[in-house]
């Protein structure tokens, strides 16, 4: 035989083309299982590429200036000199948290005040309603620009007023977008802009106030990166941080790269599911082709030749499916800026990203072909004897080493892909193992379900029910594959729901019963008694009060913080060394604390050594032990202390908890403010009290659990919507796998249906059998996914969130009903050809 066995032999391609003529549509449907997975990958990657390009294009808008300096210490004369020396064109901003009061409807809320002076932003546009509001704002006067969402929340319009501290400002517009700020950051703390020259008039800037000072520079023609590098030692000395366009770009780029990589992994799961669907469909396709393969073998075709004919078909259809997926993905990425809108720092210009399309098609096709190879490999072993005896079964007792090679390649590919996304071998391995475990568990559940149905078959049920149940384990059934595909999609979505609710519940629970639910802070020492009285007069108990002194760490056991930072062997995190510590002083433990080591030691005389108590985990992180020396810089004055004890802290409560606690008698004279922890009975009481508080003591801020809950809920909703959007790809992939499996088993179903009709079954009974079968299939697959999600959420609750596991079942019931309903709907839609056609017509037709 001169016809070569090379896969590039043109005859093989010709045969593949000829043979596929009658099954191209079906093959394409099998391959469309991978379409959504590829679409997800292409959409995310295209979006990532476009986002990166947009960040590059709009880099300067991310900061709004060439250079930004920030510090939360009042600017010293030396620091001011340094700030002045950098450039003339600069703007100044002071930001702090404060309550605002809207006289129109007496609404109050904790917000972020930004007092601005100068021509900031130097790059990018400030978007407002009305459009000229920002230029009016710059002209001066007691005007404020208020966050759009905040205005909507309080039903405030431009022209109304807002009271901040002692001063009432005229609202000239809504602020939609400010260079340097993302929409999600304003969800956490909505911003109100006021002119800097009216800040003092608010009376909110007092000794001990927590104010962030920012300076924005426009430095045309300057190498800003080099300048920032040169200035760094001097800025560090003054406790000033610098931020350049490049730094901001890198930081944002990194954040979004992480996000897109994570979403890519979620999309990849949809692709994997699709591939499992492909493998299953090709398995049945190969079974259909057994006779043709045997004839070819009989006529002299080699094992590899026949294998290549079907591999080429799979490859070509896979390629078409992948291209369709890539096109769909390119279309979906146009929607992504809407979905991710709140998180995006820049306007993303969406264009076709060819690299992402190439990558998506490459990954999708490789995966699909690898999975299809598993059933295709058996073609090599089909015996020509089948031409003589249709019932002939090949001896498959000898293990095919090629099959193990394919399994290995699949796992390697999944691991490799995960590594490329995460860039961490351990996590990539975790992902791969996690996927394998999820697949194995769902497979196990599928097998168990089939076994249980078979074993405990309810023989007393009516024929329709018995036939429907029996269909779940008929030969060539697709029960297992559908339980895996639909189950995994459901698992992803349910896990998200359950975890989100667990976190929210934890916050809700922390404020229930007698737990505190409101914190008042920024109370000046001279206001403390009056605020306590106001609270008590309003029927609100004071559950805890704590003074707060800010300080920085300057030495540990005689070594300066700078020296420790330079010592790479010290392994103490930088943030712990350079952060601003908010410290309290007291001689007793509070309810959220437990003493671990040492004891709280009082100061008996001013000359005594000062023993502080630190959080146990802080002690570990800082590599400290009892008796170690810590020197703090308390607003200019060094205070030497020793570690006297450690405390375990329950951070999950609405309480003021501190890493470091000083004894009484040391910090009383230091600049400080006070925090009061209270409990309000209702949101009405909370609103009334906050109104009175803001009017009497405008500098005091109140944050209640309701606000925390709303904020967390909003953020979680935004995050989970994005993830759910990606998980949806898995569910829809599951439904496509269902469609293709229904269509592939159509011939078998037609024969059954014809037989049943011949025996006297009416259409209603046949439809009932199908509905019940899909109902079982959908419900069992969804339940498997939900069960798995409960296990994973329980593990997350136990080991990651460390919260009690009390899942809310209502959303899961909704998932169960919706996914099962979709399964029945799609199953029935694909079966309608079987049910509507008369028996005789079907008998005469080649399916």
């Amino acid at each position: 035989m001169s016809s070569s066995s090379s896969p590039f032999n043109p005859w093989l391609w010709q045969m593949a083309w000829r043979d596929s003529r009658k099954s191209r549509q079906r093959l394409l449907l099998f391959m469309s299982s991978i379409m959504l997975g590829i679409a997800a990958l292409v959409a995310i990657n295209s979006f990532a590429i476009n986002l990166e390009k947009s960040i590059d294009d709009q880099a300067k808008e991310l900061l709004g200036a060439d250079l930004a300096l920030s510090t939360n210490k009042p600017v010293s004369p030396e620091a001011q000199q340094l700030i002045d020396s950098i450039g003339q064109e600069r703007s100044e901003e002071r930001g702090f948290a404060s309550m605002v009061f809207f006289p129109k409807n007496s609404g109050t809320r904790l917000i972020q005040v930004k007092a601005l002076q100068g021509n900031f932003p130097y790059f990018g546009e400030v978007e407002t309603i009305p459009a000229d509001a920002f230029s009016t704002f710059k002209q001066g006067g007691k005007k404020a620009l208020v966050d759009d969402v905040l205005m909507t929340q309080f039903n405030i319009e431009p022209g109304d007023s807002v009271k901040i501290g002692e001063t009432t400002f005229y609202i000239i517009g809504r602020i939609l977008k400010m260079p340097g700020q993302s929409a999600v950051s304003t969800t956490v703390a909505p911003t109100v802009y006021i002119p800097l020259n009216y800040l003092d008039g608010t009376g909110l800037v007092q000794r001990g106030s927590r104010i962030n000072y920012k300076f924005y520079y426009q430095l045309p023609g300057t190498d800003v990166e080099k300048l920032a590098e040169t200035l760094e030692p001097r800025l560090d000395k003054e406790g000033i941080n610098s931020d350049t366009v490049e730094e901001r770009k890198e930081e944002i780029g990194r954040t979004f790269a992480n996000m897109t990589r994570f979403l890519n992994l979620v999309g990849f799961i949809a692709l994997l599911l699709g591939c499992v669907g492909v493998a299953s469909a090709i398995h049945l396709y190969v079974k259909e082709k057994l006779a043709s393969v045997a004839v070819l073998r009989c006529l002299g075709a080699g094992g590899w030749q026949t294998f290549y004919i079907f591999l080429i078909q799979t490859f070509l259809m896979g390629f078409t499916g992948a291209l369709m997926g890539a096109l769909l993905g390119s279309a979906i990425q146009f929607v992504l800026p809407e979905i991710l809108g709140e998180f995006l720092p820049v306007d993303v210009a969406v264009t076709i990203a060819w690299a992402a399309i190439g990558q998506g098609v490459g990954i999708g096709l490789t995966m699909a072909v690898l999975f299809a190879l598993l059933p295709l490999l058996s073609i090599r072993r089909i015996s020509p004897l089948r031409t003589l005896r249709a019932s002939f079964e090949e001896d498959t007792s000898a293990k095919d080493p090629a099959r193990w090679l394919i399994y290995g390649l699949i796992i390697l590919f999944v691991g490799g892909f995960a590594y490329l996304q995460i860039r961490d071998w351990r996590q990539a391995l975790g992902f791969t193992v996690g996927i394998c475990v999820a697949f194995l568990l769902l497979t196990g559940m599928g097998i168990l379900i089939m076994y249980l149905v078979r074993r405990f078959f309810p023989v007393s049920w009516s024929y329709v029910w018995r036939q429907s149940l029996a269909n779940l384990y008929r030969p060539q059934n697709q029960t297992l594959i559908l339980i895996i595909a639909i189950g995994l999609g459901t698992f992803l979505i349910s896990t998200l729901y359950v975890s989100q609710n667990l976190l929210l519940d934890q916050v809700t629970l922390s404020g229930s019963g007698n737990q505190p639910n409101m914190v008042l802070f920024d109370i000046q020492t001279n206001q403390k008694e009056a605020v306590v009285k106001l609270a008590k007069d309003s029927g609100i108990p004071i559950l805890q009060e704590a003074p707060i002194v800010t300080m920085r760490l300057s030495q540990i056991n005689g070594r300066t913080v700078e020296a420790i930072q330079k010592d790479t062997s010290a392994k103490i995190p930088d943030w712990a060394l350079t952060r601003e510590y908010r410290v309290t002083y007291r001689d007793k433990l509070i309810t959220s604390e437990k003493l671990q080591q040492g004891q709280l030691r009082k100061l008996n005389s001013p000359s005594d050594s000062i023993f502080v108590s630190v959080e146990d985990r802080y002690l570990e992180r800082m590599k400290l032990k009892i008796g170690d020396e810590l020197v703090f810089n308390v607003q200019g004055s060094p205070i030497k202390t020793y570690v006297g004890s450690t405390r375990e802290i329950d951070w999950n409560r609405v309480q003021t908890n501190f890493l470091i606690v000083f004894p009484n008698g040391v910090l009383e004279e230091a600049p400080q403010f006070h925090v009061l922890v209270t409990k309000v009975k209702s949101s009405d009481q909370s609103a009334k009290f906050q109104r009175e508080l803001v009017q009497a003591y405008p500098n005091v801020s109140a944050i209640d659990l309701g606000l925390i809950l709303r904020t967390i809920d909003e953020i979680l909703n935004k995050v989970s919507f994005v993830i759910q959007f990606m998980a949806l790809f898995s569910i829809i992939t599951g439904l496509i796998v269902l469609s293709s499996s229904v269509i592939i088993s159509k011939y078998q179903r037609i024969q059954e249906s014809v037989l049943l009709r011949t025996l006297g079954a009416n259409s209603k009974q046949i439809i009932q059998i199908s509905i019940i079968e899909y109902l079982f299939l959908g419900a069992l697959a969804t339940l498997s996914g939900i069960l798995l999600s409960l296990i994973s959420s329980w593990l997350l609750a136990l080991f990651v969130f460390e919260v009690p596991f009390q899942p809310v079942l209502t959303p899961l019931m909704v998932v169960l009903v919706v996914v099962t309903g979709l399964t029945v709907l799609i199953g029935m839609l694909n079966s309608r050809g079987v049910l509507n056609r008369p028996p005789l017509e079907i008998l005469r037709t080649e399916v």
């Binding site: 000829r18 009989c298 002299g300």
Partner: protein, 233 residues
């Protein structure tokens, strides 16, 4: 005349649980090139197994098959496929046309497997010879049983085989169609000088060949020349 098929002490057995099932037991015979030859016997006697072994579709448990001088049981499956493609033609009871190929394409396959060029012309000539040139673009499902078997015949002769194996070639056809197909088989066989090995239940059909082997319970019970041959001698 030289021997085209030599079967020596051929045995085929299967393991079924702890039991060994012997389907063919120590069968031997020779077939000369150009002969027509029938294997007859009741259902389950081992006829089809013997045909499969002679055509190189299966391997024996012991004994040897020499096809055109090539010892088949020493070859791998792919090597046997090459032998089949070079020397063997097949006709099956259930036609075994590839449902996805047209009549013409089905006939072209064996020649294409040999890497021959311009095969459509010869395939069409063969279809014409069996009276189906006008149905060349029809798929098997669009043809009647008799027509399918005639396409199968055209395919069997397309690679100019030295030996033709026919397994109950008229078993699925009505009497009238059977007669036509039988006539065609013998005509084409004569024209091409092919050796014909026929497995059948039909003793009338077997009688049209030169020699009949009767098999029962896996063993050859008789090996006789037919009346037609005896008269010639």
């Amino acid at each position: 005349m030289s021997s085209i098929l030599r079967v020596q002490n051929l045995t085929k057995s299967y393991q079924s649980g702890n039991r060994t099932l012997t389907v063919l037991d120590n069968v031997s015979f020779d077939v000369q090139a150009g002969d027509t030859f029938s294997i007859v016997g009741p259902s389950g006697s081992g006829k089809t197994t013997l045909l499969g072994l002679c055509a190189g579709l299966d391997r024996s448990s012991s004994g040897s098959v020499f096809l055109n001088g090539v010892q088949l049981d020493k070859l791998s499956e792919d090597e046997r496929a090459r032998v089949r493609n070079q020397y063997v033609g097949f006709i099956f009871q259930n036609f075994q046309l590839m449902p996805t190929l047209t009549a013409l394409e089905n006939v072209m396959v064996p020649m294409e497997l040999r890497g021959e060029k311009g095969v459509a012309k010869r395939a069409l000539e063969l279809l014409d010879r069996v009276g189906l040139a006008s149905r060349q673009h029809h798929y098997p499902t669009q043809l009647s049983g008799g027509e399918q078997q005639r396409v199968s015949l055209a395919r069997a002769f397309s690679n100019k085989p030295r030996i033709l194996f026919a397994d109950e070639p008229t078993g699925n056809l009505d009497t009238e169609t059977s007669d036509k197909v039988e006539k065609l088989i013998f005509e084409l066989n004569r024209e091409q000088g092919t050796t014909l090995i026929l497995v059948t239940h039909d003793l009338d059909l077997a009688a049209k060949t030169g020699r009949i082997i009767r098999i029962k319970g896996g063993s050859v019970v008789s090996d006789t020349l037919t009346e037609a041959v005896r008269q010639q001698i």
